[in-house]
C-alpha cells in the first residue's frame, strides 16, 4: 500500500466517528494495541524532544526502505505515534520526505489536540522525516 492509501484507510476509520470522545477512543485503542518496542530501545536517545509525554521512535533502514517503531508512556500520544508509524513505515526515504500527511487534518487531529499535544505530534513527524533524510544522505554518500 502507498502512503496515501494507508492515510485514506485511517480517514475511513475515523469518518463515522462524530463525537470527539469516540475519536479519542479510536486513538487510545490504537495506542494500547500497537506493537510494543523492546525495552532496550526505550532509551533517552530515542525520545522525541518537544513532547510532553514520553515518545520513543526508532528507525531502521533495510533494502532501501525505512522501518519505524514507536511507543509512548501515554495512550493518546501512543495512538498518534502508532498511526504515524503505520503510515510511514516500509517506504523509501524519498517517499517519506515527499509525503503529504493530509490524514492529520482530515480526521481533525490537529484542531482537536491541545496545542502541547499538537506540537508533540509535529515533533514526532519531524523526527521521522529526519531519519529518512539521514538514511538518504548516507545512501548517496
Amino acid at each position: 500500500m502507498t502512503i496515501n492509501e494507508k492515510q485514506d484507510e485511517i480517514i475511513t476509520e475515523f469518518e463515522f466517528l462524530e463525537d470527539w470522545l469516540d475519536k479519542y477512543q479510536q486513538i487510545i485503542d490504537k495506542g494500547q494495541s500497537g506493537k510494543k518496542m523492546a525495552e532496550a530501545d526505550k532509551i533517552p536517545e530515542n525520545l522525541i524532544e518537544g513532547c510532553q509525554s514520553k515518545v520513543w521512535v526508532t528507525a531502521e533502514y533495510k533494502d532501501g526502505k525505512v522501518y519505524y517503531q514507536g511507543e509512548s508512556n501515554t495512550d493518546i500520544a501512543g495512538g498518534i505515534v502508532v498511526m504515524l508509524v503505520e503510515v510511514l513505515s516500509g517506504h523509501t526515504p524519498d517517499e517519506i520526505i515527499e509525503s503529504d500527511l493530509y490524514f492529520i487534518n482530515k480526521i481533525g487531529l490537529k484542531e482537536h489536540l491541545s496545542p502541547t499535544r499538537s506540537n508533540g505530534m509535529l515533533a514526532m513527524i519531524k523526527q521521522m522525516r529526519l531519519y529518512a533524510v539521514a538514511f538518504k544522505s548516507k545512501m548517496e554518500s
Binding site: 479519542y24 495512550d75 491541545s114
Partner: protein, 407 residues
Amino acid sequence: MGLDINKIRQDFPILTKEIYKKPLVYLDNAATTQKPLCVIEKITEGYCNCNANIHRGVHFLSQMATEAHEAARENVRSFINAASAREVIFTRGTTEAINLVASSFGDSQCSEGDEIIISQMEHHSNIVPWQLLQSRKGTTLKVIPFDENGILKVEELEKMITPKTKLVSVTHASNTLATVNPIKEIIRIAHAHDVPVLVDGAQSIPHFSVDVQDLDVDFYVFSGHKVYGPTGIGVLYGKERWLDAIPPYQGGGEMIKKVTFEKTTFNELPFKFEAGTPDYIGSTALSAALDYVKGIGLENISKHEHELLEYARTRMAEIEGMRFIGNSPQRSGLVSFLVGDIHPYDMGSILDKLGIAVRTGHHCAEPVMQAFGIEGTVRASFAMYNTKEEIDTLVAGIERARKMFHH
C-alpha cells in the same frame, strides 16, 4: 448557614462559559482562580479614571493613584494582620517574593557552609531560589521529609537545625498533597534556635485566614491571582526588623532616596524593595479581591471548600483503581489522584473534552513525585464557587475515562 453558591457564581463571568459545548467545570484553582466582576471592573476603572504614575507626581491623578495604591497596601496589611503597612511589599507574585528573600536575605546573611532548611513538599519556586543562593554563596540545602501520607515529619526539624542554619522556608499548604503543615509548631521550633522562618502562603491565603503576628512568622509570601486577584501582583510580608536589616533586591526608580554617581542612598520601607513603577493597577485590583473574599467570609469559604473536598474524596474513593496522593487529615483545597495506570495526561485530555479543567503532571513539585515514584498526578482543586454537582460531573468524567482506557 451555607453560602449561596449560585449567587457567588454570578459574580464570575467566565463560569458561564461552555467548553466543547459543555458547561465549564473549573477545577484548576490551585493554579489560578477566576476573577469576580468587581476585580475586573477595578482594573478597567483604574485605567479609565485613575491612571497616572504613582508617588512623586504632584498632579491630581498621580496623587489619586498613589492613594489607591497605598490604600491597597493597608488593606493587605489588615488582611494578614501585619503590624505595619511598611511590612507589606508588593511583588509580582510568590515566586518573586521568595527570590527577593533568597537574594536580599540570603546574600547578606549567609556565607559558605550555612544552611537553609526547606521541606520535601515544596513547589519549585521554594527550591530553586535556594539552589541559586547555594551556587552564589556555597550554602547547603536541608530537606524536612514527609511520610507515606504526605505528612511532614516536623520532629525531624529539631534535629536538623544547627548553629549554621540561617532560615527555614516551608509551605503552609502543599500544592500537590493538600497537606496543611503545622506552621506554628515549625516556627516555634525554629525560633527556639533563633532561626527565622519564611512561609509560602500561595495555597493557604485563598482558603483560610492567616494572621502573621499570631504565627510570629518572619516572612510570609503569596500571589494575588490565586486569591481571585489579577496576575502579576503578589505580596511579601516581612517583619520590619528583617526588612530593615537586609539590602534592596533590585535597583531603579522608586526605591532610592538620593542618587549621585558617587553614592546612592535607599528609600525607606516598603519602597526600598519596590524598584521601578509599581503595579498600582494590580495592587488596587488585588485589594478589591481581598474585599470580595472578606465580604463572603474566609470562614464560610473554608467550610464550603472543606465540604467539597471531603465530598470529592468520598465519591472518588468509589472509583475502581483510585489512588489518592496525599492523605494528611489536615488538608485543604485540592485532591491529587491517579486511576489504575492511566497516565495523568491521558486522564486530563479526556476530562478536558468533557469540559472539566484539571491540572496534570508534576505540578512544579518534582521531588514530591519522586518520593512517590510517579511521574505526575491529576489534580482537582477547589474554590468558593465550586459545587457538589461539579464534583459529580468530575466523578462521572473519571469513570468515563477509566472505561475508555479499559481499566
